[in-house]
Symmetry: C5
Subunit: 98 residues, 5 copies
């Protein structure tokens, strides 16, 4: 999984019928020190994430293992909202301080 | 998924029999700020996309989850045409202004 | 899929038994402007491609969706020979002019 | 597989229900000379790894082949703890000297 | 597939039970001109490869299509030992001259 920040959303009316109810979020990948990387992914939200949230994204066939994305042409899913993480015992990110 | 712009098409007569009716489009990947990246993908179109459209592409096994691409040797599919997207509440791309 | 040029071939006698009849071709990836990239892939040929041909390659599990590669430990396949492609209406590559 | 060092952990309360018991570890990828790379992955631990351990991570659908991760939206798993490795007969890493 | 040179091996005692008999080899990726790249993969050996051998590696779900790796959390496999390869008709590598 990658850590990413939800920074926007995409509107697509003309899309595969299986994805009619999918919400596409623009996720900017962050490194483990919480610095934004020059990498993004458009992921389907399966956990109620919103703009500004730090999230975990899963890619490839693993992105189809949620109830919402099963058997759908979707290669990236938000499967968790990050509360916090630490490195070497030191807190790097804490949602409630954000 | 990635955001890409349809910039061309590929003709292939001698190809896997399962792909006889597939339309191969040249898709240039854009970043989330709508800047073209030095990255492209040849994707099968499943939604009626045309040159100049901004689209969403899905890769890997997820590219075989549309009716058109099921069980076919295809690793990238256009599964949505982008109407618009925004970042931090500001519109980045709007199809009708293009 | 990626566009690549067949530039060579690999001989492997001691290999997985399922791949005994596979032909491994060295494919140099080209960008959409037909410039060679510093990237190559060894792909199994499923369409009768030969050295000098521009081809389409599919990767990952999609590479196992041809009759020749089904259920085999093969992660890249040539599934089409490129006749031509264009960008913005202008021809970039034409096999018969090559 | 990649060699990585477990450098931290991620807390996520709101996540896919299938992952309720998963432990997410921050793994910094190392090269084969044991130098840290500018690449990390968040992996589910399936072998009892802890901070400071050098581990092997598997990605993609292969990350779902452990008892813990089967059919779950997880694209990276720690499937081994590294005791040691060598290059050209010379020891590069030895857990007990760490 | 990629061409790689077997340069070492990894010992892992505490690992997924399905991989108890797997041999993990450190494979340094080479380009098609036989120059080593700054990229490596730890692959399970399925063909009796040894240090110094040039091999073909398959990644992702394709790495689970050998008898040895079926249904195991393994994302890279050595599925062939390279005897030789050529580019443009000229020999680049020949095992017996190595």
């Amino acid at each position: 999984m990658l850590i990413a920040k939800v920074v926007g959303s995409v509107v697509s009316t003309q899309k595969d019928e299986k994805l009619q109810n999918a919400k596409f979020l623009v996720c900017q990948v962050h490194d483990h020190n919480n610095q934004p990387k020059d990498q993004y992914v458009i992921a389907v939200d399966s956990v109620g994430a919103g703009e500004g949230d730090m999230v975990l994204t899963a890619a490839g066939s693993s992105a189809r293992q949620t109830t919402l994305t099963k058997d759908k042409p979707c290669d990236a899913v938000i499967m968790g909202i990050v509360d916090s993480w630490d490195l070497g015992g030191a807190n790097v990110y804490e949602k409630w301080n954000d």
